[in-house]
Symmetry: D2
Subunit: 310 residues, 4 copies
């Protein structure tokens, strides 16, 4: 039987509790390396957006909605500082709808489009498709490609809000953190103190308007511990690629960090010379702008595995 | 018979002549909309890198190599300011090898890797494959995906060097400007005063080390004129996608410009409402970091055509 | 008699304790609004740099030096969220010497100068002068203009490291936070949970190499509480100017935030119309680049008081 | 008798002529090193803003106003590539009023303040004072501190628009280029091909709204040539300071360039060791944000001369 970790009750969602990744919070559950775990998550709005009018109404009334709550901390047995935590993503269960919003003062084009009012779109999700309804009433079908938007371990000694990504993971909004892939995270505290939330049914590169198809979800994971394998930033492995996920401002610094981490990985684990790995990335690296709307921006740099070994 | 435009003789490569896109240069050829044209181009080094030792030697000896020379200006009959120029890319003929270099003071990781000496790698190109030879002598096969790195029209009234991309096109290093796709450029001068060069046999996203597989080439094109169709930035159409190509610093501004242009295109040609187009990009837009090594950085924003119309 | 708060003993300096501003730490002292307080501070290196050879040796030996420790949290009676804390800086007692370092991988020009080894310079401080000894042995006299580099309140719900500045204050490295001036800080927690350290005997604009004349010090302050006066970012008042202190990346965003805060201040407290305040800043605002070496960069925007009222 | 160069007649103001610094334009006058010259300049709007209603009206009617026209090119006898041109600023004659504007889509806070309409303020200038009239009708007196906003030589082989600053000078909007100081510019073409315009009666740091007190003026200059003294970026000398003026995006890159140039100057002309000059700037350099509204942003780094020599 699969272990299930329920989401934190709504009334227990608090800024310092569920809106941070932090060494100061007490674990809500303990898991063993190797066991399968199902984890329930709130959407990024703590479930508060129920209709296309909710957000504007909430802002009007000054209602505070929980900010990007995570389910955690989860204590992973045996994980120690200096290790890495592997998180195999086995599956994501989709709900029947998801919300997208744009708001004044937020989103990558805000300064240019001069939005005056927040807008919300609720999209139905059916048979693996997101059904986006345009202003003119046309339904556009987009294949669901669900992934985990916010996922990470406790930082070394800071409490970092769940809107911000960093070396500890956090709000990376990276579509490559999806079923079939494995996320690798630095362990900074005994037990890792892992948390996750903010699942998206599908997202465009950059998440340019500030939110994707935001959903509550049930995520199936398997944890593992790589002993004495310290890494500086989150990494992802798919069957075909190795990937590094770095966050910074301006965006070019996120890209530079990600490509440098990729150089470091090629050198440490695949025997490339440093300059050679660098030069080869000019020819064969791929990358993705994960998001340009959070307090730091996120880029994923990728190298196909087929090039790495003879 | 296909019209062929030969490359400028080496001794006639000059900074203000072949290393700018400019209204001040005289056309070297005239073409008609609709006719097929073959154009020969130098590689980005003006053909000066003949062995893996050349670049270091040239720098040592103070030899000046031509900087990213273009073949042009080419006068397109009937193109007038306010029109757009379409450039259908029909094919790119590959040579038998290409050069890649990294150099102190250049490339996205330069400040972090502290390169001390320039390095050059010559890769054989055979049967559609680039054969990259690692430091340890292993051959890595990368499929050639050739495209035009520098391509554009004359600016409105400036002479812009061919290392810099902008609204006029230029050194965008965008892999989507490839056979099968059509580039659309603003026309700023009668005849457009088109030029191109800097073909790459293949390139990683970001061109992080500063050069790809740099090759001389023969490019087959067909020009067209869209009357009274003014655009602000270069665009690309593939059979599946519409794309906008914008350049700025920092990199997030290139991304913002590209997504804004994509909003504008969806509004003008496909009937979307502005905010709706913006919100939908959070869900379904794709993007690519073309390069982060030129004086301005380039991002391509993309929208699948299947979503645009019922 | 002036109340004196001693610095934290060296063996009690810890990352989560003295290298964060945080709601999770227990106050080490309580002060009343209006009373004069003397506070002892460590220098940014926790007193570990004793000779010009220490830093290189410490790095060699892997010795961990405390990172920018602060003295705090200090609980200010009566300060509540929604209030502002005023901190009158009455005086700074200078020691007899201070340390300056540059290090590989740190400082604004690091990527360009390719430093290979860390360097430390110890400067004598005498009669209000810093005596900087150049490589060639010449003594350059620079007038001491001491100020507090790191100073702030607890954030709302995060624990933020003391290297990073922000809306809560922190490592702003702003030379205007000096004797004769008053700093105004947002209060986010009951008692404010104030901390300070990292005093500089003098600093150039930008602190470009990454450290100034770093000193331990005794700082004399008087606290006050402005009731129901919420502010978004730290502010400073001198007898002649009002100033806003904002931190962001890239640097232009720090400048924009600071000038926007200055607009807001002119509107709220001096009765200017918003656009008028903005336009007038083009004519009469001053600014200072405080630092470009910390995780976020800091700009101070200033408006002479003589222009604000009839 | 002082030689006088008249401003270009309004009907001869053209984009490629007076709105570029360029090697492609023919000199309008020749001057000798050492002789005093008076040069007339248009304001940044080519004199088109005559009332506080003009700009909005012009935009409404689609009238094109000349963009930041310069008086030039002026050929300086004997100046050759590899030399530097010195420009002693002897005086600036003020008119009786100047214009300030803010406009939608322009200015550092535009994205945040959502301006809907352009606004213009005409300020009287009298007895060395600018009399700014606030929205509420109060007159604020600001001391005039006139300087030259746009000033430079021809670039090496490009034609660069006069809104953009760079190594050649251009639209630096640097208040230190004022009477009593000497500007030093790289010479890229025989005769330097110098031009200037865009004088400001006074300007706040950053020119945050996008324009200062914009005036037509008569500027008195004396040119000189420093033989075989190549420099990379513009420099300024006042009686008390040496200064470097660099432009880039993001703003921190402008600051880095300026401080690096200052290191280079201290090394080349004052005998400092490189790392020593760098470290000392952390202690004693000053800087100024000249502007954050042009296509590249400008920072001035400064070092008091009293520290440079024994």
């Amino acid at each position: 039987m699969v272990k299930r970790i329920q989401k934190i009750p709504f009334e227990k969602l608090t800024p310092s509790g569920t809106s941070t990744l932090s060494p100061f919070n007490k674990p809500i559950a303990t898991v063993k390396p190797g066991e399968e775990v199902e984890i329930e998550t709130w959407d990024a709005f703590g479930g508060c957006i129920k209709t296309e009018q909710t957000r504007a109404q909430a802002l009007e009334k000054g209602v505070k909605v929980p900010v990007n709550p995570v389910t955690g901390p989860i204590y992973v047995e045996g994980a120690e500082p200096g290790d890495s935590l592997t998180v195999e993503i086995l599956g994501i269960e989709l709900p029947s709808s998801g919300a997208t919003t744009i708001s004044p003062g937020f989103g990558s084009l805000e300064g240019w489009l001069n939005l005056m009012i927040p807008r919300t779109r609720i999209s139905e999700i059916k048979a693996g498709k997101v059904l986006y309804r345009t202003d003119s009433g046309r339904i556009v079908e987009v294949t669901a490609e669900p992934f985990i938007g916010t996922i990470g371990n406790s930082p070394v000694y800071e409490a970092i809000n769940t809107l911000t990504p960093g070396p500890h993971g956090g709000n990376m909004d990276c579509p490559d953190i999806r079923p079939g892939n494995t996320l690798i995270l630095p362990v900074n505290q005994p037990g890792a103190l892992f948390g996750l939330g903010d699942v998206h049914a599908v997202q465009g590169d950059g998440e340019v308007g500030g939110s994707a198809i935001e959903i509550p979800a049930v995520v199936k994971l398997r944890f593992g511990v790589k002993r004495h394998y310290p890494i500086a930033w989150p990494r992802v492995e798919s069957p075909e690629e190795i990937m590094t996920v770095c966050s910074a401002k301006p965006l070019e610094d996120a890209a530079r960090l990600a490509h440098r981490e990729l150089v470091n990985w090629m050198v440490a684990d695949y025997g490339w010379a440093r300059d050679d790995a660098y030069m080869f990335q000019s020819i064969a690296a791929k990358s993705r702008i994960a998001q340009i709307v959070d307090p730091l921006y996120t880029v994923v740099a990728k190298m196909p595995k087929k090039y790495l070994k003879p």
